[in-house]
């Protein structure tokens, strides 16, 4: 098994030390490593570190002013409308995560289990279910925006044609339905991915385990509950962490479905959109305030994924 990427203990295997594995001199190593190291450090890691630094300064446009300590963070909490939009968007990202997660895990695991046993059509279903994941989030948003259009949209037309006319509504225009619809569209978009991860996890479980339990008289359901399910813990961890990161990065999908303001009336606003608006549609001090927001988002995303990683690692150890 390859080293685990996200959840659980790292089983990274270090190269064995044969004659062929004696490291060449550092100058040669540097030639191999430097290009990737520089590209990655200069254009991603260093700017990310700088974002923290930026948040402690006063900004006038793109010109850096004096050190102001935590003032930019104060603006985030106190200045209208940020003081209302920030908790609103933050809350939405959490709902987005939990909503997506609940449906994804249930359906993704179900389809993975069903397809594992199936012989005919396995390839077709797997390819079909993953297909939406290949489309741009923005395009997925636009596609569903057209389908759910209140006047000319095919979805309401379909409801009408099967006699459910009274269910037709402006799905994305009504604050009550807009955000649940965004989450469902997202599930349509992502579902194939957790399904693939669960399928890979299922395939990695040796057949003997289930066989042994069956010989002992366990039913299919008991095998699933007591053997398969616990062995999938690391996959649950990975699915949860990746879904969390993606949920807090969501941007294009909501932009296309609900616009840059996350309408109607902020009902679908998320941190990604708020960050964009703060940085590029804000006032003269936008860079400082947006950097403070970036720091808050970074701590949330990275902090929660690290805690989750540690937590799933512990569960897994408890099971071993």
């Amino acid at each position: 098994m390859a080293p685990r990427l996200l959840a659980g203990r790292n089983v990274r295997s270090t190269p064995s030390s044969g004659v062929g594995r004696t490291a060449p001199p550092w100058t040669i190593l540097a030639v191999f490593i430097a290009p990737a190291f520089l590209l990655y450090t200069v254009f991603l890691v260093w700017p990310l570190v700088q974002a923290l630094f930026f948040s402690f300064f006063e900004w006038k446009g793109t010109a850096r002013g004096a050190f102001v300590g935590f003032d930019n963070f104060g603006v985030l909490i106190n200045r209208f409308p940020l003081n209302e939009q920030l908790p609103n968007a933050f809350w939405h990202n959490w709902i987005f995560f939990f909503g997506t997660m609940a449906i994804q895990v249930a359906l993704g695991l179900l389809f993975a289990v069903l397809l594992q046993r199936k012989r005919r059509g396995k390839q077709f279903f797997r390819t079909t279910f993953v297909l939406p994941f290949m489309i741009s989030a923005l395009v997925v948003g636009y596609i569903w925006g057209l389908i759910l259009n209140p006047t000319f949209g095919p979805f309401n037309a379909m409801l009408k044609s099967i006699g459910l006319e009274n269910l037709a509504r402006p799905w994305l225009g009504d604050p009550a339905t807009a955000f649940p619809v965004v989450i469902l569209v997202n599930v349509w978009y992502w579902l194939g991915f957790p399904m693939l991860l669960f399928a890979a996890g299922l395939a990695a479980i040796p057949e003997d385990y289930a066989e042994a339990a069956r010989v002992d008289g366990a039913s299919s359901w008991q095998v699933f509950k007591h053997v398969t399910f616990p062995l999938l813990t690391p996959v649950f961890g990975t699915v949860a962490i990746l879904t969390f990161i993606r949920s807090f990065n969501v941007f294009g999908l909501v932009w296309a479905l609900a616009g840059v303001d996350g309408g109607p009336a902020g009902a679908t606003d998320v941190l990604g959109l708020l960050f964009y608006r703060t940085a590029f549609q804000g006032g003269v001090d936008a860079f400082g305030v947006a950097s403070a927001l970036a720091v808050v988002m970074f701590i949330t995303i990275f902090g929660v994924s690290m805690i989750a990683r540690w937590w799933f690692g512990r569960i897994e150890e408890g099971l071993a």
Binding site: R4, V42, F43, L48, K118
Partner: protein
């Protein structure tokens, strides 16, 4: 399934199994329909004039007609967007894969001072939310004169590809047997010859996985070009989409054609290279 306990239970079990597999088929087909129906609808409506779509949004095209594609391509700048997307994505993938395969070789084959740190340093990139670096990145590119250039975007994109590529490719290098280096060294080959002549050809499947898998998120990305590119003639397909949807909002036929032009290359890539993309998506979780 279960041990037979007499004929009666046997036929009963068989009937039960048949009902179960029918239920499974219904479930799978229903979800397949939910995935496919919206996509088919787009394909059909892209070939129908807008006024017909408005009259009846769910119908088959009366004739095969590509007028809306020609309109999207010529009038809505999709020719520019498409070429930009191809150029920027391809250049980024080539650059990221080239630098990553070098680093992955050193990290996958050898242990040396700092190799553990470097591996973790590259690996951590898989979890970092890099979009949050956009403001410092903007200032950096501005200082280098690279804002609103394709080169600037390519450098950023290539950098985002490094963590995943190094991760996958070093796993490939690690699996190659030691004897290869030994034999080559005895023959007097230098490190670069061993890499280029012996190792590189053996990790070709890894290169394919990495290259194909990076293509998808870069082709689809919307955030970086939205911020880093100003001139519309440099825009990629996703950013172009935002302008397109404003200008053509009453011309659904063209909108649908634009969606297809943007999406089709990736659908084809996915169908041709399903294996590589699935391997990329499930990297690190056992085997499929």
């Amino acid at each position: 399934m279960t041990f037979t306990r007499g004929m009666a239970t046997n036929t009963q079990a068989k009937r039960k199994e048949k009902a179960a597999s029918a239920a499974i088929a219904v479930l799978l087909w229903t979800y397949a329909a939910i995935v496919i129906a919206p996509l088919l609808l787009i394909v059909f409506n892209s070939m129908r004039p807008s006024r017909e779509i408005f009259k009846d949004p769910i119908a088959l095209p009366s004739a095969i007609n590509f007028d809306s594609y020609i309109k999207a391509w010529n009038e809505a700048n999709f020719s520019d967007y498409f070429v930009n997307s191809v150029t920027i994505t391809t250049a980024s993938v080539v650059l990221a894969t080239s630098v990553s395969v070098l680093a992955a070789y050193a990290l996958g084959r050898y242990t040396f001072r700092g190799s553990g740190f470097l591996s973790v340093f590259f690996l951590s990139g898989l979890l970092l939310p890099f979009r949050l670096a956009i403001l410092p990145l903007f200032i950096l590119l501005d200082n280098l004169g690279l804002v609103d250039t394709r080169t600037g975007l390519i450098l950023v994109y290539a950098a985002t590809g490094v963590p995943f590529s190094v991760f996958i490719l070093s796993a490939f290098f690690r699996q190659l047997p030691d004897e290869l280096n030994e034999a080559a060294r005895i023959d007097g080959a230098g490190e670069f010859t061993i890499f280029g002549r012996v190792m590189l050809p053996l990790v070709r499947p890894g290169l394919a996985t990495v290259a194909v898998f990076q293509f998808v998120p870069l082709w689809n990305d919307f955030f970086f070009p939205l911020v880093l590119l100003r001139s519309t003639d440099k825009w990629t397909l996703p950013v172009g989409m935002t302008r397109f949807f404003g200008e053509f909002q009453t011309d659904w036929s063209t909108l649908f054609a634009g969606i297809i032009i943007t999406t089709l290359p990736l659908v084809i890539l996915f169908l041709v290279a399903t294996k590589q993309i699935i391997a990329g998506l499930t990297a690190g979780i056992g085997k499929m």
